[in-house]
């Protein structure tokens, strides 16, 4: 690799955007080139200082209010139309009742609603100060915190070594019931892992879906439903789920 190439690629190295082969190539070049090594060090130092500086703006309150005002206002109670739609649905349901189809239709309907609630809970958690009720990188602190707050003990797994930092836990509400949320971080991306009890003990393989731009990895195991929600790319979220399931199987929960 030449210095010209390295000058571009060392930034990708700093940003963690290189694949294994290019990472090795840049590192090899830098190891043998004092000039590029000094540059890399200097740019790393600069990026760190920039990351530590407060360079963000807060939107003025007036702007927020103007945007809020321009949106159609939400109705508190279900609108007349929604109620009527409910009746229409009801008669359609009785028309095909007892065919077995109903249960399936409602179940996937439920599923979609809960999924949308899980995403809303994830979004709420991202607002300042809402992310964690208990802040700890120690699974033996996070897990006992849930005791007595929920009717299940959500498994808390430390995945720091696998690149997903445990940052805490939170009590949230989904489907009008309290639900445990375990919070992880990957670079600047937050992952909320929601855990709820389910009546069925059958294992359901993981499925990744996208809702409002968030990826959701959903699976069930040993009587618990899991939803991992994040703005991480789907493959990284899949990696998170796999690491979590692997850790569960090897029994390293706190």
């Amino acid at each position: 690799m030449t210095c010209d190439e390295s000058e571009i690629l060392l930034h990708a190295l700093i940003d963690d955007e290189l694949d294994a082969g290019n990472t090795r190539a840049v590192e090899e070049h830098v190891a043998g080139c004092p000039r590029c090594a000094a540059q890399l060090q200097s740019y790393r130092a600069m990026s760190k200082m920039i990351a530590g500086a407060d360079l963000r703006y807060r939107a003025p309150l007036g702007l927020r209010q103007r945007i809020e005002a321009s949106l159609p206002q939400p109705t508190q109670a279900p609108s007349r139309r929604a109620v009527l739609r409910g009746f229409a649905m009801g008669s359609a349901v009785s028309a095909i009742a007892a065919t077995g189809l109903v249960a399936i239709v409602l179940r996937s309907d439920d599923e979609a609603r809960i999924q949308s609630e899980v995403v809303s809970a994830h979004l709420r958690s991202l607002q300042a100060g809402h992310l964690t009720d208990v802040i700890s990188t120690d699974q033996h602190t996070v897990k006992p915190w849930f005791n007595g707050k929920l009717d299940v003990a959500p498994p808390v797994v430390d995945l720091t070594a696998q690149g997903f930092t445990l940052i805490g836990g939170r009590l949230d509400y989904v489907d009008a019931r309290p639900i445990g949320a375990i919070v992880y971080r990957r670079r600047a991306h937050v992952i909320n892992l929601f855990v709820a009890q389910t009546a069925s003990t059958e294992r359901r393989a993981a499925k990744i879906e996208t809702l409002q731009g968030f990826n959701i990895r959903r699976w069930s195991e040993r009587g618990l439903n899991y939803w991992a929600v994040s703005d991480l790319a789907a493959d990284e979220l899949a990696e998170f789920g796999e690491k979590f399931e692997a850790a569960m199987r090897s029994g390293t929960t706190g």
């Binding site: 010209d4 000058e7 571009i8 690629l9 930034h11 990708a12 940003d15 955007e17 004092p34 000039r35 000094a38 540059q39 200097s42 740019y43 130092a45 600069m46 990026s47 200082m49 920039i50 990351a51 500086a53 407060d54 360079l55 963000r56 703006y57 807060r58 939107a59 003025p60 007036g62 702007l63 927020r64 103007r66 945007i67 809020e68 321009s70 949106l71 159609p72 206002q73 939400p74 109705t75 609108s79 949308s116 995403v119 809303s120 979004l123 991202l126 607002q127 670079r187 600047a188 996208t210 409002q212 731009g213 968030f214 703005d231 790319a233």
Partner: protein, 186 residues
């Protein structure tokens, strides 16, 4: 269904609010760096949210933040065009060939091993804001908004390779300015 009725749908508005409003500070921050004017930035962000709501029905991803940013960037470019047509306002877009100049022409005498001074946020902010476009845009998307190269490429509508060279150049320019700041009389 008439368009108006679709935009009046409270359920859609609720989903849009939940999905897009958490990024208001991000959008405003980007607009401030792109336009370097508080009032213009507010107008641009408001216009961006109006357009985003209009297109929310067809939104299927990518992640919400880059999607909003791509819309915001278009709004800001329209503002650039307006400024360019007004005789008093300066434009700071660099000509095409500036992007082609090899990196090492920037600061041939920059000592590689010199330790960088730890500036305060105000100084760093001023140095970043002084970067020329399109380098400032790429730099801000990466360093302040933590977008991946792929996401930046989608937002600015350029190949990933262009993003990489712009970012390298932005950092080289910033580093030169960073060091030059020490030479200034206090």
């Amino acid at each position: 269904m008439p368009v108006k009725a679709a935009n009046d749908d409270p359920e859609k508005a609720r989903r849009f609010r939940d999905a897009a409003l958490p990024y208001l500070d991000d959008a405003y921050t980007l607009a401030r760096y792109l336009l370097r004017d508080a009032t213009d930035a507010e107008d641009a962000v408001q216009e961006c949210y109006l357009r985003a709501l209009k297109h929310f029905d067809t939104y299927r991803g990518p992640a919400m933040k880059p999607w909003l940013f791509a819309i915001l960037r278009n709004v800001c470019r329209a503002e650039f065009a307006r400024r360019a047509s007004s005789p008093t306002a300066p434009i700071d877009d660099v000509p095409e060939e500036a992007e082609q100049t090899p990196l090492w022409h920037d600061a041939p005498q920059t000592p590689e091993a010199q330790m960088l001074h730890q500036w305060d946020s105000t100084t760093i902010h001023r140095l970043v804001a002084a970067l020329a476009e399109p380098f400032r845009e790429t730099f801000v998307l990466r360093e302040i908004h933590d977008l991946s190269y792929r996401e930046i490429a989608d937002v600015v509508g350029a190949p990933v390779g262009t993003v990489m060279s712009r970012l390298a150049r932005a950092r080289a320019m910033l580093r030169s300015a960073w060091m030059a700041e020490e030479e200034l009389p206090k």
